[in-house]
Symmetry: C2
Subunit: 149 residues, 2 copies
């Protein structure tokens, strides 16, 4: 019942981009370095995020990435779902046909509730929330408002 590192890295990646909202595009290399994540791996992770419009990309020299829309309009679910795939805790929740007893299954009903709980939580949290929390913590630690990666 672990979240994949893809999802975790994806959220950290988006948080880093969120800190640069409306500024110059950021190089993946820089985020990868500051976050201590393989650049090649991040470059794979960012593709589905781009496909969903969560990031805008600029190719070629001086290219890079920017948030595709305001951080306030990006939820945790938006980020995690394309990386994690099906978000349900058990296959049968979204694919009832894999089991003949799905309609009457008591445990499936529970897995369904649990999955909905998680998804509902993720929908309530925006990238803006994370950005704000991050800045708040940084200030209280550093007394600084500099958010360079």
């Amino acid at each position: 019942m672990r979240l994949s590192t893809r999802s975790r890295y994806g959220v950290r990646l988006m948080l880093a981009l969120g800190l640069y909202e409306k500024k110059e595009p950021v190089f993946l290399k820089d985020i990868a370095h500051s976050e201590g994540i393989s650049e090649k791996y991040l470059s794979q992770i960012i593709i589905p995020l781009k496909a969903r419009g969560l990031v805008t990309t600029f190719r070629g020299a001086h290219g890079g990435y920017l948030l595709g829309r305001p951080a306030s309009e990006i939820t945790l679910r938006d980020i995690i779902e394309p990386l994690e795939g099906d978000m349900s805790l058990v296959d049968c929740v979204n694919a009832p046909d894999i089991c003949g007893k799905s309609t009457e299954c008591v445990t499936r009903a529970v897995w369904n509730e649990m999955s909905s709980l998680l998804i509902g939580f993720m929908e309530k949290i925006t990238l803006e929330d994370l950005v704000k929390k991050y800045k708040k913590k940084k200030e209280s630690c550093n007394g600084s408002t500099d958010y360079t990666i």
Copy 2:
């Protein structure tokens, strides 16, 4: 972010035992057969459940398994935790030392909240709840109150 089949099988196993509360011990063979799960696999799954006192075992001929305490005193968490191991969605939630930034990490705070949400949910659901729901469904489908496996 999937629940393991160990946990799912474990819950179904306990539900089957719950339907027999205070009656004769049940053979794992019978549960395995009725649930369509490998008996050998179930016999591994039941060991940590026994260790936590969730089931009582009787060895030898005419042995079998019974619930270790009333279904009303067994929560979903009780069943899943020994099967799943650490219940947090991300390692750093319960092992902050694996990352130097845990105390200040914004994403870790989110994973922590999410994990607590799940665990809280699982603590609220008892095996008795599942047993009752099962019986209710059976009655409305069959008009029967026979719960043989």
